[in-house]
Every structure is written in structure tokens, then in C-alpha cells.
């Protein structure tokens, strides 16, 4: 009897000690898995490009208290609120956010299902962030799907990340711009499923992975001390630099499969953009079918609580450096266009004559050589009104354009053909 009591006592002590150091994953009830979805972030600033694709999910940045007017169609929406790193995250802010969310949801479409907080919390303050999220959870309507973006640094050992993700329904680790500072070139991070899946799945909260589908133009300039400073141009396009006389590109690929095209600016080329000066270095990062596909295939290997991928981001109307939703989905399903050039004719809405708007589809990845393309009609054209950036010419019954290498053009307008009868165009071999 004394033997049994001693064993029981020791066992009880062991249990207490274990309880001090061990937080079992089932200390909270296991979470339901979320359905697999593919989504996009729609960021405020530029009017979103139109698309015929209706994605599963859109995460829409809403800076004010009103749902934006021309958000693309999707099956479901999550409102995104960005909190600046320097901001305080107090209970009052949580309450105000909940109120704004409620107001936006009331005035917005029925299919707004949740709120995502985009906050680059310093890793040392994750406990505060967790507290903030709990306050938010209490203030917000109970059926709200609460999501957060997540920095990869939060997941190193010894942080309070577990507390943070327990307070939410979903977290979205971002595998792009993951370094301490944004780099001039390269955006996407290699997604190592073997490394990250065990870490994310152990947290017991559903998650979706943030993948880059966009590119960037950056300028590097050395200051008087020789230190390089980087500036990003939102109003410059690859086409502004491509094919320019004596502006030779040098090319690299990143580990994640993106393409980086580099130019060194001289006196003449400084005129290409008001922010350029001689000796500046320009780096243009292109997303590629490889970078998007390999990222997504890696996400598919996560298993566990992984519930899909969210792409950053839905392009703006005038952007050429971000894949459209259609392009992304074609890459994922393997139906992406090859490097073959295709012509698309769309009937316009004209009055006395028929009109056909002529577009070229150039393939998703930037071509490494200059190309000359001709398209011809299958009927008589009375008038052709050239348009678009390529300055098309009508020569000997064909429209001819020169497309420089690394132009970044994937879908380009050539102009409008007016005719008495309907015409279609085809690429001339």
C-alpha cells in the first residue's frame, strides 16, 4: 500500500511538472479545417483591372468606412485593414475597427465574410498583438471570419505566435518581401513545404499561404557616401526601358524562379523617367509562370490545416507587372498560354461600319528576344486606327508591330479596324 501511494505521489508530481512545461496542442478544441480556396488581395490605390474570372476569395483593402465601388466579382470577400507598424494597438482601436467592419459590412455586398488585419507586428510584441486580437474578437460580430497576415519571423522558436493564431480563424504567412528590408530585386520567397508545414500545422489553426504574383521596378542610386538607396517606381513599366538603343539588359533568375532584368542608365536614358539620373541602376523583377507554379505546388504539399493560397495581388488597370487572376489560374491549372503569339479580335460597338478591336496575346513570360509580329484580316478593311504602345503600322495588307525583349507586355491593344463586313485577324506565319 505504501508502495502504491509512493508511485501515485510521484506520478502526480510528474503530471504537475509536465503541466508546467507542456502545452498540448489539444488544450483548445481542434479547429475545423477550412475548405481549400484560391484568392487574391485587392489593394487600394489603383482601380482594379477588369477580369472575366470570378475567384473564390478576394481580400479587399478598405482604408475608409465604405466598401469600394468597383471591386471585382468574387464568391466571397474579406475586408482588409492595414495597421501601420508604428501604430498603437489598443482596446479602443480594436473597438473602433469592429465598428468600422460592421458598418462596411452593412453597406457592402452580402458575401463579405470576414476581416483581415494586416499588421507587421514586431516579433517581441506578439503577446500584445494577441491581446488586441482577443479584444477585437469580443467586439466584432461573432460570425466574422477573423484573419491576419503573418511575417515568417514570427514562427521562429520561442515567440508568442501560438497565442496570436489561437485568437483568429485563419493566418496567412506571406512568402514575399520576407527580408528585414525590401530588396531592389526579387520579391518571392522560396516556399519550402518540408520546413514550414510542420511549423504551421502544429499551431492547430487553419492558414492560407501568401504567394507573390506581381513584379516591381526599382532604382538603385549611390549617395555621396557610396551607400546605395532604393526607390520604387509605380509609374514606370518594363516597356519604358525595353528595346531602347544602347540600353542593354542583363538577366538573372531568383531562387524562387522570378526573372530580374537589370539596366544601367546613361545620360540619354535618364530622360526615360523623371526619377532617373545617369549611373542609376534599374532592376525590374518579373513574376513568371515558374515562380507562381512552383510556389503553388509547394503550397499543395503542406497538408494539415493548409487551406489554400492567396496571391498578392490583383493588378491595377494600368499595371503590366502583375499577373491577372485569369493568368494565375491558368498557370495553376496548367492551361497557361505558351510563348506562341495569338491575336484576339473583339467586336466594337460602332455605328455605320463594323469595327474590330485587335489585341495580341503574347504569353505570360517575358520574351528574351525582339520579335516582329504581323497580323492580317480575312476581309477588306476600310480604315485602321492604330493605338496602344507598339505603334502598329499597316504594311501590304498586314498590321506589323515590333515587340522588344523584356517589354512586359502580355496582352496589348493594336487598334481598331473599320470595315463594311465583319473581319477576323490571324497571325501571319
Amino acid at each position: 500500500m505504501r508502495q502504491i501511494s509512493r508511485v501515485t505521489g510521484l506520478g502526480a508530481v510528474a503530471l504537475v511538472v509536465a503541466g508546467l512545461f507542456w502545452t498540448p496542442t489539444w488544450s483548445n478544441p481542434p479547429r475545423k479545417h477550412l475548405p481549400w480556396k484560391t484568392g487574391f488581395w485587392v489593394w487600394a490605390g489603383d482601380s482594379p483591372a477588369e477580369s472575366e474570372t470570378k475567384p473564390d476569395l478576394l481580400y479587399v483593402q478598405v482604408p475608409g468606412a465604405r466598401w469600394p465601388d468597383n471591386v471585382p466579382e468574387a464568391s466571397q470577400y474579406v475586408m482588409v485593414r492595414r495597421i501601420e507598424r508604428s501604430s498603437d494597438i489598443t482596446p479602443q482601436i480594436a473597438e473602433a475597427l469592429a465598428a468600422v467592419y460592421t458598418e462596411v459590412r452593412q453597406g457592402g455586398p452580402q458575401s463579405i465574410v470576414g476581416l483581415q488585419i494586416d499588421y507587421d507586428c514586431p516579433t517581441s510584441r506578439l503577446a500584445d498583438y494577441a491581446s488586441f486580437l482577443r479584444d477585437l474578437r469580443e467586439a466584432i460580430p461573432p460570425d466574422t471570419h477573423v484573419s491576419i497576415t503573418a511575417l515568417l519571423d514570427w514562427f521562429r522558436p520561442g515567440t508568442e505566435i501560438q497565442e496570436v493564431v489561437q485568437a483568429v480563424d485563419e493566418f496567412v504567412p506571406q512568402f514575399y518581401d520576407a527580408g528585414p528590408e525590401r530588396a531592389a530585386s526579387g520579391i518571392a520567397e522560396v516556399i519550402d513545404a518540408e520546413k514550414w508545414a510542420p511549423i504551421f500545422n502544429a499551431l492547430g489553426t487553419p492558414y492560407r499561404i501568401g504567394i507573390s504574383s506581381f513584379g516591381r521596378v526599382a532604382r538603385r542610386r549611390a549617395n555621396s557616401s557610396g551607400v546605395e538607396q532604393v526607390m520604387y517606381f509605380r509609374d514606370a513599366r518594363p516597356f519604358d526601358f525595353a528595346g531602347k538603343k544602347e540600353l542593354e539588359p542583363s538577366i538573372q533568375s531568383t531562387n524562387a524562379g522570378e526573372l530580374v532584368v537589370h539596366y544601367t542608365i546613361n545620360d540619354v536614358h535618364a530622360r526615360l523617367h523623371s526619377g532617373l539620373a545617369p549611373r542609376d541602376q534599374v532592376d525590374i523583377t518579373f513574376p513568371t509562370t515558374e515562380s507562381v507554379r512552383s510556389g503553388y505546388e509547394a503550397v499543395r504539399r503542406f497538408g494539415g490545416y493548409c487551406a489554400g493560397a492567396i496571391f498578392f495581388r490583383w493588378p491595377g488597370r494600368s499595371e503590366t507587372l502583375a499577373f491577372t487572376a485569369s493568368e494565375v489560374l491558368e498557370i495553376l491549372t496548367g492551361t497557361s498560354g505558351s510563348s506562341e503569339i495569338e491575336v484576339e479580335t473583339r467586336e466594337g460597338d460602332c455605328v455605320s461600319l463594323r469595327c474590330a478591336d485587335v489585341y495580341l496575346r503574347l504569353g505570360p513570360d517575358p520574351a528574351s528576344t525582339d520579335r516582329r509580329v504581323s497580323v492580317r484580316p480575312n476581309g477588306r478593311v476600310e480604315m485602321f486606327l492604330p493605338d496602344g504602345p507598339l505603334l502598329p503600322r499597316w504594311r501590304q495588307s498586314e498590321i506589323t508591330v515590333n515587340i522588344p525583349a523584356y517589354s512586359g507586355l502580355r496582352y496589348v491593344y493594336l487598334g481598331r479596324a473599320l470595315s463594311h463586313e465583319s473581319v477576323q485577324f490571324e497571325v501571319t506565319p
Partner: protein, 622 residues
């Protein structure tokens, strides 16, 4: 080298010499530009922005509550309190134009409790009240924005100093924008742009206008709000023209066209009205509606300067051309062609369009006149593009002009050439040179082709083209010898000498060396291999007949072959016959079949003569 010969060569060099130095591209060729569908595009891809130059002497004064006071007192304290708001934190909504209500209330309280100010500041204080209403309102709170709007509208009901009035209108526009009334906001900004008294900087007005429709495009249902003044309608036209077809641009432009058809009064107010009419002409072109182009052209007053604008003349001419109204099209293209203040490239396009008009009207002599005039513009076109940058193309009238060549060498009859000379005589082509001389030269070549070598020699001598004159004289002598009655043998030897002379002077007897510059193949073969869409059978036959005739007539080797072949047939396997056969084979093999054609026929003749020679050489051996 005699002066006139030098002039002829200069002229011929100019005709052929506009080679555009485009890297990795073949030279630019101008040939029947009026058949190219892109000739009739508007001169400019988008019309100029709606902001005009700032009226001279326009200055700005600080807004209400911002200026530094020159004296201390209640107004100074109030201004200081208002300026303090500018450094307030932005708050949750991040908009720097909104302030925390409690901070705004502090300033309101100061207004309520401060001592009466000098009446000269009353308007400023009144406006400040309205600005505070706006500062306190949340961007998404329509009720508070409505309060701010009411305050500003009430403020504007009374006479106010111009600068404050202008500022109040700017704030009213912002309020309207926040309340999603973009059209009314735009109209205020546009009116401020037009106003010499505006206290809002042009850059700010331009940015505000741009922002109104950058996120969400103009909608068809918004258009009617802009149809109250030409400047407003012009803004809507600007937006519509920049809306792509994929984003509903066609529907927008059609709706605007239809709306403006009803608003005749908008087209009676001077330059803005004219600009509006021009914008609709462009829109109508894009919508394939030549009738609408002409209707809006007629909205421009007969006395308006706009009726002389290149764009007006061009679009009106294009509309008539599209409708097949060639006499009317001629009138407008001619006016543009002769407009000394139009750009050289615009005039050249008008000239190319005129060639099309004359082609359709069956007036080849005038067509030649227009073609020469386009060539004459060459140096001015080069200068224009040197100044403005870029490379001129064939529709700008640049490049090697083959219209003159084809008209002179293939299309016009002899009598039509004479008509040109009679009608246009010595009209200048370039300084110190004459298109007439080029025509005379072509006339001489034609005489040579019809073996009237004496006449050809006379013209060449008159033009001081000595080498050609000498060749023609020698050809005349040799040809005359073939006509002298004599023994069969003598005549055949004379024929051989004539044929041999022709074969030894390729491109120097029957070919018009100054017109084609080696690009004849590009014209002829392009017509044959790029005859798509195909012209009517009748027209195709007529053109192909012309080309075939020219090719046969201008080819010295072919002419020589025919003479030599005749000798073979008559002389038989005699030494002269065999010599003729050998020479004939050489001629056949030297013909440039890319330009000449008849490939199968030439090969067959070669085989026939070669076999004949072989048979007769073998049979001659012992």
C-alpha cells in the same frame, strides 16, 4: 556636268532618296498610301489636355485661416488656432484633411467667444466656419457632409471677395466629391480653371479633376450633367475618348455623341465649342460614323478659324472619302494640301489622300501632280521630324516614293503625259528643278521603248542627259539599219547588231533608271503576292495588264532575246543563227525574273535554244 543634267539627277535622287534610316528595317517605301487603311487616322492620338495657359498676372492669396497676420488681435488668434489643426494627428481614417472633432470644437469655441472682429475679416470668419464643418465631418458620414455643403452654398449666396469665393467653391467641390457627386464637383473645378480670378492653383485643379475619375470611370448616366457648357462637355469627351473599348468606351462615346446632337447651343460659344465639335468628329471616326463626322463639322461656324485647322480639314475630307463623295473630299484635302501653316507631314498625308481621290475619280494627270507635290515636301518633312523627334513613315510622305514611278512609267498613257506637261508645264518640284523635266525624261524613255529613238535622243539632248542621248542615237542608227531593204543575210546581221547593242546596255535604253531605285520588285511582286483582299477582277486585270506591258517594254534583255530568236528562226543553223542562239541564251539567263516574271517561259526558251544548239553543234561535227 551640265547644270540641267545635274538638276535632273538631283530630282531623281530626291524622288528616290528619302530613305528612312531605321535600324534593321528595309527602307520606307511610299506606294499608293491611299490604299493603306491607316492613312485616314487622326493626326493626333489624343487631343490636348483641357488646361490652358495661366492668364498673365494670376497670383494666389492664402486661404481663409492660413495667412500670417500683420497685427495681433482676435483674427490672428483665430488663424493661429486653425493653423494648429494642421499638425493634428490623422486618426483612424488616415485622411490628412480630417481632424478630430474635439480639436475642431476648440476652434469653433474660439469663434463663438472671441471679441468682434473688424468687418473686413467677416467673410474670412464665415468661410472658416464652413471649413470647420467639413474638417469635422467623416468622409463616409453623409449627414455631416450635407451640413458642410449647406454651409458653403449659403456662404456663396452672398457677394464675397473673389479669392474667398474661389476657395469656397473649391471646398464645395470637395464636399460634392465626398458625397459622390463627381459631376458637380468636376464642373466647379472646370469653371475655376477657366476663371481668371480663381485662387486655386492650376496644378491642384488638374490633380483634383484627374482624381475624380481615376478610380471609377465616367458612367453613361453621368454624361447629361456635363452637357450644360462647352468646357464641361469637353471634359466629358476627354474622359470618354480615354476609356478603352474593354471598359465601355464605345457606349460612352455613343451616348455623348447622341447627347450632343441635341445640344446645338453648346456649339455657338467660340473656341471651346469648336474644340468640342472636333472632339466629336474624332469620336465619330472611331465609331465608324462618317455622317456624324460631317454633322459635327457643320456645327463649327463658317467664320471660325477652326475651319482652317488641319484636323478639321483632314477629318472632314476623310468622312467624305469614306462615303465615296470624292469631289467633296477633294475640296478639303486640297485646302489642307495648300495650307502653308500646316505641318509638312499633314500636308503630305493630304496629298496622298488626294492621289486616292483622283484615282477613284479617274484623273491620273492630277494624281501625278499630287504625287509630285508630295515628293516636293520631302525636305520639309525631314526637318519637321528632326525638330520633333521620331521617324517619319510612308503615310507622313517619307520614304522612297514609287507613286511617281508607277504613274509615269506604267499607268499614264502618252497623251496623259502630254496633258500633264500642257497643264502643269514647268511647275516647280524643288528649288531649281522641275517635275516637267522628269515627265519629259519619262516621255523620252517611252519613245525609246516604241523604237522612236530619234525623238528620244532629241529629248535627252534637250535635257542634257548626254549618255542617254548617245545611247539613243546609236540605237537609232542600228535600228534604222534593220529597216534598210537588202539581202536577207545583211538584214539579219543588222538585226544581230541591234540586239547585241540592246543586250550590252541593260537598264540604259528602255528602263527608266531614275524612277525605281531597285524597288520595282517590291511594288510589282508585292501587288501580286499581297493582293489581299483582292480587288475586283476587272481592276486586277487592268492593273496586271499595265504591269505586264511595262515589264516587257522596259527589259532590254527580253527585247534582245526576241530579236535574236527571230534571227535563229530565219537564219537556221548557220554561223549567224548559232551565234544568235548563244547570245539569246545569255540574254534569257540575265533577266531578273523577280522583277520581270515569265519564269516558265524563259526556262522553256532556254531549254529550246540550248537543245537546238546542241543538236546543231553535234550535227556539224564531222
Amino acid at each position: 556636268m551640265p547644270v540641267l543634267r545635274r538638276r535632273i539627277i538631283t530630282v531623281l535622287l530626291i524622288i528616290g532618296g528619302f530613305v528612312v534610316l531605321v535600324e534593321a528595317c528595309s527602307p520606307e517605301l511610299t506606294f499608293r498610301a491611299y490604299l493603306s487603311p491607316d492613312l485616314f487616322q487622326p493626326f493626333r492620338r489624343s487631343f490636348a489636355g483641357i488646361t490652358r495657359s495661366v492668364p498673365a498676372g494670376r497670383g494666389y492669396v492664402p486661404y481663409a485661416g492660413i495667412s500670417e497676420s500683420t497685427e495681433s488681435g482676435p483674427i490672428d488668434e483665430l488663424r493661429q488656432a486653425y493653423r494648429n489643426l494642421l499638425s493634428s494627428s490623422a486618426g483612424l481614417y488616415g485622411a490628412s484633411l480630417n481632424f478630430a472633432p474635439e480639436a475642431v470644437e476648440v476652434v469653433r469655441e474660439r469663434i463663438r467667444t472671441m471679441a468682434p472682429v473688424d468687418s473686413k475679416y467677416a467673410d474670412e470668419v464665415d468661410l472658416l466656419q464652413c471649413k470647420l464643418d467639413l474638417r469635422a465631418a467623416r468622409n463616409d458620414d453623409d449627414a455631416s457632409l450635407a451640413t458642410a455643403q449647406a454651409c458653403l452654398e449659403k456662404y456663396l449666396e452672398r457677394p464675397r471677395p473673389a479669392a474667398l469665393r474661389s476657395e469656397a467653391r473649391g471646398w464645395l467641390a470637395r464636399t460634392l466629391f465626398l458625397r459622390k457627386n463627381r459631376a458637380d464637383a468636376a464642373r466647379i473645378y472646370l469653371d475655376e480653371l477657366e476663371s481668371p480670378d480663381s485662387n486655386i492653383k492650376r496644378e491642384r485643379l488638374s490633380v483634383s479633376l484627374k482624381m475624380l475619375y481615376s478610380w471609377q470611370p465616367l458612367r453613361t448616366e453621368d454624361l447629361s450633367a456635363f452637357l450644360d457648357a462647352p468646357s464641361h462637355a469637353l471634359f466629358a469627351a476627354h474622359l470618354a475618348s480615354n476609356t478603352s473599348p474593354r471598359n465601355g468606351g464605345d457606349g460612352l462615346n455613343r451616348a455623348l455623341l447622341a447627347g450632343l446632337e441635341e445640344k446645338r447651343s453648346l456649339f455657338r460659344e467660340g473656341p471651346q465649342s469648336d474644340a468640342l465639335a472636333l472632339s466629336q468628329m474624332r469620336a465619330a471616326l472611331r465609331l465608324g460614323d462618317p455622317d456624324a463626322i460631317l454633322r459635327f463639322a457643320n456645327r463649327i461656324a463658317g467664320t471660325s478659324d477652326a475651319r482652317k485647322y488641319a484636323e478639321y480639314l483632314w477629318l472632314t475630307g476623310a468622312a467624305h472619302f469614306l462615303k465615296g463623295n470624292y469631289p467633296q473630299a477633294e475640296q478639303f484635302f486640297l485646302e489642307l494640301f495648300e495650307a502653308s501653316d500646316a505641318a509638312a507631314s499633314e500636308r503630305a498625308r493630304a496629298g496622298e489622300a488626294l492621289e486616292g481621290v483622283y484615282d477613284r475619280m479617274g484623273r491620273p494627270v492630277d494624281q501625278l501632280w499630287a504625287a509630285f507635290r508630295v515628293v516636293r515636301l520631302g525636305p520639309e518633312i525631314q526637318k519637321e521630324f528632326q525638330t520633333k523627334g521620331g521617324y517619319p513613315t510612308s503615310i507622313d510622305g517619307a520614304g522612297i516614293n514609287l507613286d511617281v514611278a508607277f504613274l509615269l512609267d506604267a499607268q499614264l498613257t502618252d497623251s496623259q503625259l502630254q496633258q500633264y506637261l500642257d497643264r502643269y508645264g514647268r511647275s516647280p518640284l524643288l528649288a531649281n528643278s522641275s517635275a516637267g523635266d522628269v515627265v519629259r525624261y519619262a516621255r523620252a524613255v517611252r519613245y525609246a521603248r516604241s523604237e522612236e529613238f530619234d525623238k528620244a535622243a532629241q529629248i535627252y539632248s534637250d535635257l542634257s542627259t548626254i549618255e542617254r542621248a548617245d545611247n539613243a542615237k546609236e540605237a537609232a542608227r542600228l535600228y534604222a539599219a534593220t529597216r534598210v531593204a537588202g539581202s536577207g543575210e545583211t538584214q539579219l546581221e543588222a538585226l544581230y547588231a541591234y540586239a547585241d547593242f540592246l543586250a550590252s546596255n541593260s537598264n540604259r535604253i528602255f528602263f527608266n533608271d531614275g524612277l525605281w531605285w531597285g524597288f520595282q520588285s517590291a511594288v510589282f511582286t508585292s501587288r501580286e503576292s499581297h493582293a489581299f483582299p483582292k480587288p475586283s477582277a476587272e481592276r486586277l486585270t487592268r492593273v496586271q495588264t499595265l504591269e505586264r506591258k511595262l515589264k516587257d517594254e522596259q527589259e532590254e534583255y527580253w527585247r534582245a532575246y526576241k530579236v535574236l530568236n527571230g534571227i535563229v528562226l530565219k537564219a537556221g543553223p548557220t554561223p549567224l543563227g548559232k551565234q544568235a542562239a548563244r547570245r539569246a541564251i545569255v540574254c534569257l539567263r540575265r533577266i531578273n525574273t523577280d522583277r520581270f516574271g515569265r519564269l516558265d517561259e524563259i526556262h522553256a526558251a532556254d531549254r529550246r535554244l540550248s537543245s537546238w544548239l546542241e543538236r546543231n553543234e553535234v550535227s556539224a561535227k564531222p
